[in-house]
Amino acid sequence: MGQTRSDDPTATADVPENAPEHCPGTESEFAGKSDACAGCENQETCASNDPKLPDPSLPFIKDRMAGVKRKILVLSGKGGVGKSTFTAQLGWAFAADEQVQTGIMDVDICGPSIPTLLGIASEQVHSSASGWSPVYVQDNLAAISVGLMLPSTSSAVMWRGPKKNGLIAQFLKDVDWGALDYLLVDTPPGTSDEHLSVVQYLKESGIDGAILITTPQEVALQDVRREIDFCRKVGIRVLGLVENMSGFVCPGCKTESQIFKPSTGGGKRLAEEMGIELLGCVPLDPRIGKSADYGVSFLDEYPESPASIAYLSIIDRIKEILGDD
């Protein structure tokens, strides 16, 4: 595990190994129909319009996920709004109760941040007879991420969709979590392969809901609007919206100013407009970023900070919505 295929970064992953040179790829609309397909031994399979067979990993995923009580996605159309930071805080907050087993799954394959945020960047995933062992941050908080499988933190994972999907399927079926109360899935920005795959693979096991993260400016809200549209298209319940980086308190004069101005009403307006709940607003605190870089829990380090208080009230609300408080 952990090969990054840096030898051939432009290889199309949905081209079978025995394919001719100009294979359009098995997922292409020209599959089996292009000139290059003549003589290829897969042509018949590609050209046939049979509906694709269900993924063989589905039953295994269902088995593995049977031991997980709650599956929560953390989404946001936009990058850098704090998905991973929020996921990590949520994980720590759940795990503060010793009886609660929490797992964090990082499906951001090309930019995994979870290992750094949890302070386990130097750890490696081990495989055993019962599957891959996740890395434990503490007794009851485990994490899996492609970042825990790379030879070096600077290795780039240059994968196209199908390879990413393959790894996500493995994360879902091969990781030996044991029994979990919560599985938090941290996603990359956008609405593409990773998101579709997670949703499809977890369809049978059921997703309890998605938490959407945004920042106050319209450029971010635009992308979150798209993400909400995505959730509706694929039928995921939106638990609510969290507005991150809303307001900044100057450590010098203690005046609050808006770095990312909510020019169109911010998360509040968006929540009203889309009919979802605004779970809360977390102010920007430079110490959040610091804690993330050092891989320590912000909630434990600065429990008195307004941001911690905001985080905790959001987390309480999430538990309430899920009916777990």
């Binding site: 997922e27 290795s155 780039a156 609405t191 579709l196 450029v219 635009q222 609007r225 298209k233 101005k261």
Partner: protein, 294 residues
């Protein structure tokens, strides 16, 4: 490879420089840097013709930033007509999947192969005309979009170069390193590195807080032997300008008389800082050409 003629190479024949803006991490300001780069290249000479292509297919931000929300793309006999941000002057052309959506809240839920097809169309079917610079804004990561771009533009590889954007915190730098490994693997020249969001000036007392720490980008550039183009602090004026450049539905179809965005941009503190970055980019481009012609 360079002798190979493809629809993409034919279309990009009249483009002098292609600059790809990359960053491993999302939300570090790729789109705002791309926009600023395009605006600065545009104003660097009264005849400069600049194109900006947004290949962030599932989260296009460029239309909003250029104040072109709600515009549509027209089809002509010679391909798609890009949207011009400067109205009648037609020196700043822009193309994004955002122009193809019916509603701004519509999501583009596409897997790799469809994204690949769209990118190929963007590269081969858009009627850019003669361009001095084509700035390409990318989504975060090192995946389908990036591989497709490089693949389709292989015939014009000698004109390609990139700019890496990062923020100073460790989490972003780590992704920037991944991005660097990517450019090395695909042999893409790097013009330099820009550190964005380095510091925030409190509007009340003027104290500079390092919201996302500071200096990490410069440090990384030194360690990796990259040119450091400069750092940009968080500029609330710029954030508001790029965020709020709302165009009302009536205005959308008729060209603006003057290029208001550029005027307002020129007044922001970032515009002055970017001047310096642009000089660095120009020097790097010259160096690159010198190497190519040798």
């Amino acid at each position: 490879m360079s002798s190979l003629e493809t629809p993409v190479s034919r279309r990009l024949q009249s483009v002098k420089h292609i600059i790809i803006v990359l960053s491993g991490k999302g939300g570090v300001g790729k789109s705002s840097v791309s926009t600023q780069l395009a605006l600065n290249l545009y104003r660097s000479s009264p005849t400069a013709r600049v194109g900006i292509l947004d290949v962030d297919l599932t989260g296009p931000s460029i239309p909003r930033m250029l104040g072109l929300d709600g515009h549509g793309v027209h089809q002509s006999s010679d391909g798609w007509v890009p949207v011009y941000a400067d109205g009648a002057e037609a020196r700043l052309a822009c193309m994004s999947v955002g122009f193809l959506l019916k509603k701004k809240g519509d999501s583009v839920v596409w897997r790799g192969p469809k994204k690949n097809g769209m990118i190929r169309q963007f590269l081969s079917d858009v009627r850019w005309g003669d361009l001095d610079y084509l700035v390409i804004d990318t989504p975060p990561g090192t995946s389908d979009e990036h591989l497709s771009l490089l693949e389709h533009m292989a015939p014009v590889h000698s004109r390609l170069s990139s700019v890496i954007v990062t923020t100073p915190q460790a989490v972003a730098l780590m992704d920037a390193m991944k991005c660097l490994s990517f450019t090395r693997a695909v042999n893409l020249p790097i013009l330099g590195l820009i550190e964005n969001m380095s510091g925030y000036v409190c509007p009340c007392c003027g104290e500079i807080s390092n919201v996302f720490s500071t200096g990490g980008g410069e440090e990384m550039a030194r360690r990796e032997g990259l040119k450091f183009l400069g750092s940009l602090p968080v500029d609330t004026e710029l954030v508001s300008l790029l965020d709020a450049s709302e165009v009302s539905a009536d205005d959308a179809e008729k060209p603006a008389e003057s290029f208001r965005l550029l005027e307002e941009y020129s007044a922001t503190p970032s515009a002055k800082l970017f001047q310096h970055i642009l000089e660095g980019v120009a020097v790097s481009l010259e160096d690159q050409q010198a190497v190519e012609s040798r």
